[in-house]
């Protein structure tokens, strides 16, 4: 996985019960007719965070963002920003700015006027406007394009102008709707890191909506995974990835092998699961809270599975045999799809550390195994 900004953030205010949340969302719901777009969401976001709302399209993440911006009125619940109730404040009076997915640059104004627009609206002195616009354009490296109209800019340049325009008013909170969605892959990766360093420099709190889990992992201090209008899990990228709380999160963030099974031993220090799907037993070195004999799912990430042509020594737990069905060579790593005797397909990734490694080929019989610490057991 890519480096996470979460590891750079020094303090973790969300673990400190005495810390004051900067943005507080209290039991927000939004219904469009019978359809509940956002369903009873509560969130606390702290100053200086990059909080990513991650979810598939239609999960309600954009509606939640639009409620923070003031473009939708919640059906119920309240929104506080920096201690003030903002629920019924119109967008033009909120200390919040938004960067739209389409960028929404004004086509009849050049770059400079686009960026200056919000400042002019606040009747700020002309000299100060000029200075702040110049500083902002410098920060996003668009000074040379100040006199261009939006249709004369490339996608990446438009994205920078949109960013400058939404940051120049020094909002308490910046909302970004799929900020990198319109950029190609290379540019997107590059811009992700620029966005992080810019946020770090300005100290503005960011809330980012994205459907791209890799983007969320890269940008976020914390991620809120959304599904059907609810926040299913909120946590740092590594928490979300390594300790998913449900099948949905485990499956949505990264790829995962899910083995359904029955709890056969449930001790405080370990559990043992019999999985008919896998055709073996899974030993996990941490306890869980579930009734005995309960149906549980053990999630094992593809990169945490060891693959070998000879049987590893030791226990028969966490060990299974299968035939390689498919190989995808991606350069830096390879993906193997291994078919178990039960018919289950297991996904394994292995880094291509050596240029001349002895290749595992199609139809070959392999042993798959993993550490007792690797599986995550979820009950829903």
């Amino acid at each position: 996985m890519t480096t996470s900004a979460g590891s750079v953030v020094k303090a973790q205010p969300w673990n400190d019960p005495s810390a004051r949340p900067y943005v507080q969302i209290e039991r927000i719901s939004k219904a469009f007719g019978d359809f509940k777009a956002v369903d009873d969401v509560s969130l606390k976001i702290y100053k200086g965070e990059i909080f990513c709302l991650l979810g598939a399209s239609g999960c309600g993440k954009t509606t939640l963002l639009r409620m923070l911006g003031g473009f939708e009125t919640p059906t119920s619940g309240r929104i506080f920003i920096d201690g003030e109730d903002m629920t019924d404040v119109p967008p033009y009076e909120r200390p919040v700015n938004m960067m739209f997915q389409s960028y929404a640059l004004f086509p009849h104004m050049d770059v400079e006027h686009n960026v200056a627009f919000g400042l002019k609206q606040d009747r700020i002195a002309r000299a100060e406007i000029q200075e702040r616009v110049a500083t902002m354009l410098d920060l996003v490296k668009m000074t040379d394009f100040a006199k261009r109209k939006p249709h004369q800019l490339s996608g990446g340049q438009r994205q920078r102008v949109a960013l400058a325009r939404s940051l120049v008013k020094r909002p308490k909170l910046l909302l970004l709707d799929e900020p990198l969605g319109a950029l190609d892959k290379k540019l997107r990766e590059h811009t992700q890191f620029e966005l992080i360093s810019l946020q770090d420099k300005l100290g503005v709190t960011f809330i980012v909506v994205t459907h791209d889990q890799e983007e969320a992992m890269t940008l976020a201090s914390r991620i809120g995974v959304m599904n059907h209008g609810e926040i299913v899990q909120a946590g740092t990228p590594s928490e979300i990835y390594e300790f998913p709380g449900s099948k949905f999160v485990a499956d949505f963030v990264g790829s995962v092998n899910m083995f359904e099974g029955k709890l056969i031993e449930d001790e405080p220090e370990y559990v043992r699961i019999h999985s008919a799907e896998m055709g073996g037993t899974i030993y996990v070195s941490h306890g869980i809270s579930a009734p005995p004999e309960a149906t549980v799912w053990a999630a094992v990430r593809p990169e945490k599975i060891f693959m070998s042509t000879t049987a590893p020594e030791g226990s028969t737990d966490n060990l299974v045999r299968g035939a390689v069905q498919d190989i995808a060579y991606l350069g830096d790593l390879s993906i193997y799809l291994v078919k178990l005797p039960t018919g289950k397909i297991v996904r394994v990734t292995q880094p291509n550390t050596s240029r001349h490694a002895e290749a595992i080929s199609w139809e070959q019989q392999v042993y798959l195994s993993w550490d007792a610490t690797s599986p995550v057991v979820v009950t829903r």
Partner: protein, 293 residues
């Protein structure tokens, strides 16, 4: 000639036959002398002597237009009426076009159909319908009288009021349609962006929607203004004898006075007056279709 050449030639041939040739004839008549004959003007070319052909251009018809104040007043009045009508159409048509553009897509087509619906009846019939509404014992007066709101009928027919109602009513679709076509392309998220940056809704309209719909406004206004300047039927039927419009002067010169040369001069002058507006309109259209703002 290739098939492609033929396709291009056909419309040009059409324009030549039905636009350029008649125009040249009118231009020719405007330089000729009146004559008691059929047709009532003298030819421009005349054989003088044996082998010389003389061309005689009479500029008196044009000079005459500037000596009698009637013509200048008629021109001025036509422009004034056209200008006021255009403003009224804009004031009524902009909100309508805006409303249609922001309606649900399913509703939009119905509303557009309602705008176009009057075209399914002849203009003349529709103007006569207004006479029926406006006249002394017409629908409006009868209703007001029976409600006891007035005690004698209001004079509405043959007033500037009736004329403006007729013109605005007839030309409103010409303003709404190009304006709608423009507003329909508008990205409404721009308004949210403006509000996000501190604009109240009316400020966002003034700073974003209005400048972006400029080409639609200009196109619509030209489509109302240009034909209204030469409008004949509506001022005559609803505006009464005092409505001095250039279209009417032209009619009188042509049919009542049988002064074809003067009538032609009026027509040519009207055309010269309107050419700049037409060129402007063309320019706006070209910009609009090029998509530049």
């Amino acid at each position: 000639m290739t098939g492609r050449g033929l396709v291009v030639a056909l419309p040009y041939l059409w324009l030549l036959m039905f636009f350029v040739v008649p125009f040249v004839i009118v231009l020719k008549i405007s330089f000729s002398d009146v004559d008691l004959a059929i047709p009532p003007y003298k030819p421009l070319l005349e054989w003088v002597g044996k082998n010389s052909l003389a061309i005689k251009l009479n500029f008196n018809n044009y000079a005459f237009l500037f000596t009698d104040s009637l013509y200048l007043r008629a021109f001025w009045n036509s422009i004034r009426v056209a200008f006021i009508s255009t403003l009224l159409c804009l004031a009524i048509g902009y909100p309508m076009a805006y409303g249609i553009a922001r309606a649900r897509p399913a509703l939009r087509n119905v509303l557009l159909l309602l705008v176009i619906l009057p075209f399914w009846t002849s203009l003349l019939l529709r103007v006569y319908a207004w006479i029926g509404l406006f006249k002394a014992n017409g629908v409006i007066n009868n209703i007001l009288l029976s409600l006891g709101l007035i005690h004698e009928p209001l004079t509405m027919l043959f007033t500037p009021f009736a004329m403006y109602v007729g013109i605005v009513y007839s030309y409103l679709p010409f303003l709404i349609l190009p304006l709608y076509a423009n507003l329909e392309k508008m990205d409404w998220q721009l308004l949210e962006a403006a509000e996000d940056l501190g604009c109240r809704p009316w400020q966002a309209f003034y700073k974003i929607t209005l400048p972006l719909s400029r080409n639609g406004i200009l196109a619509g206004c030209m489509l109302v203004f240009i034909p209204t300047v030469g409008e004949f039927v509506i001022p005559v039927l609803l505006g009464g004898p005092n409505a001095l419009m250039i279209g009417r002067v032209l009619w009188d010169e042509f049919f009542s006075n049988r002064a074809w040369p003067v009538a032609s001069a009026v027509a040519i002058l009207l055309l010269i007056l309107l050419v700049p507006f037409m060129m402007w309109y063309q320019n706006v259209q070209a910009r609009e279709s090029a998509g530049a703002r």
